[in-house]
Amino acid sequence: MFPELNSILNSTPDSFKSSDFILVSDRRADASFLIHHYLSFYLRAGCKVCFLGLVQSFSHYSAVGQRLGVSLAQAREKGQLVFLEGLKESFGVLLQDTSQETQPLSYLRSPGAGLEGLFRFVESCVRQSGDGNAGESWGPPVLLIDDLSVLLSLGVSVGAILDFTLYCQATVCSELQGNMVILVRCEEEDADDDEEGSNLLQRGLVHQCNLALHVEGLPTGYCRDIHGQMEVWWRQRGETIYNQRKIFHFKVHDKGASFFARGTSSAVL
């Protein structure tokens, strides 16, 4: 959890907006540090978290989580965190001759069929929050997806992914008053790449979301002390439409990230 980001977004683990769909995207940069922030944020807030880890293993998140002060292994044992190991189980699913009942990862074997299996997994996970262990009632459910755009590399179509996010938003945000945080990684804006690209996916998701955090490298080039810029776009919130954008510079440390206004980096001042 990054305190500076909390103050920018005006949210703390004790009081945060519900029914929020937050989209984290990046272009030629790496915005995964924001996923670590949200993971530790919602675990501290006591929410039930369903995490689809499609690009890294559980030990990676738990190692970072320890530096940020949350224990993922403990949360998983208590039932607060449900982690889908997408990466480590992928080759097993791909090499199987018989199609087993590995429903969540069924998109690996038949990418054209859509993500219904994955959605069923998410649904079963977030709906269990009410009837957990005795005495352990968690807060509103949260769905975290680390890297939805890797599904494009596996052959799933943009339309299927957008359908999946719509279903998830309807279930998690509207019905259960929970939150959703999705990471999408884009490439360069390419003129002839509009059909099945991650840019199309990102544009479609930006329309659905309430808050969009876009991470990019500095437009002036590479810098050691400022790792990039992050644009915060407050979009529709219930009935009111904010449409306010702000750009911050950030630097990622070992135990967190610091955000500052443009031009106020400590290396410059």
Binding site: L87, K88, S99
Partner: protein, 426 residues
Amino acid sequence: MAAPVRGMAGSPSIGNTTSFQKKTRSKLVSIPGTRPSVQNGQLLVSSGVSSLDYVIGGGLAVGTLLLVEEDCYDSYSRMLLKYFLAEGVVCGHELFLASARDHPDEIMQELPSPIVDDVAGMKISEGQSQPSDPENPDTMKIAWRYQNQPRVQTALASSVRFGHYYDVSKTMEPELRQAAKCHSFYQLQETPVTTGSSPLPSPYHALLKSIQTVIRKEGFDGSTPQVGSECPRLGLHSLGSVLWGDDVCCKVNPAHCHALTTFLYALRGLLRTSLSVAMVTVPSHLIQNRAIMGRIIRLSDTAIALESFRGSEKETNPLYKDYHGLLHVCQLPRLNCLSSEVPDTKDLAFKLKRKQFTIESSLRAPAPAFIFRPASQPASALSPQNTPSTHPTALRVYSYGTSPNPNEQRGVKTPPRLLTSAVSGL
């Protein structure tokens, strides 16, 4: 002293002359040829090229995938692959080599020969048969305490050094090469198997299956606990080329545009579950769809690109006349930590010398050096000349007129500026 009768027949512990055992605090299995990273404690292996290790953050982390974008004629990327495999032979790691163009045995025969520091040690290591040895070395009369020490030690097999140097003008000795276990996969000799409903086309599916079989059979995925289990190195040459049955290099909108990306995703998953390292070379200059290339880079952990000057107009550029090509570091991984390695400079150039593959910053100081660097600033050389230690050697660049060298003349060309920032933990 009494005659050395005791303990000769069956000593319970080989190599221990006393019963004193050093108490080791760490329970980690130490695998030869690896060392922990200073940044985040990851176990690193050397890629075979010390300056490349420096550029990618100390080495290749075990369980990760290194992607090398080939240069136009696949000369230097093939060299890097051979360095990688040679390092595996020297450290005693198992090798898995897959190739579609040249037979894996041919690539193995071209491995560069390692440069050994002690020539005497090399002589002892020439196998079991010692025809020049007059005395039968079965019983030692004077040095009887060392009777139970391991008799023959190849100086390189017991090498626990991290990173070695190779002489590319000589090929590796066949004995050394055969001491290493190598599994190979030659695409043209594999019988095509109908894969049914798998999204992976046949060559990639067969390759993935072969890798999984090797890993399972040798127990690298932790199924059989082996003390001192070696970390296997996978070298996959020229994936994505036409010989692998993939048309991603031929068309802008290939029919199997997801084959290579799915394979890399599954391979990375396989690497994460086992203690292995993979180096994959991809002919990126043939892939016309930049989006696919972007995806391939993101699906790997570390990605570098080689751009050789041969045949391009940069060959005659005086700025680059000392180098053979440029090296771009496209991606560095974030492993178990928030921050990744932040390189000092992104302008790197490489040069293949006989005994070294050097990678340096390609920026040169202008000829009249009015750049003043305080002499106390330590500089770390990217290409340690003969000492492979990681201590930065101090390089002093003086401004004009302050050098103590009396022979320095005005306008003399300054040596290429090596990376001058101290390596401090990020």
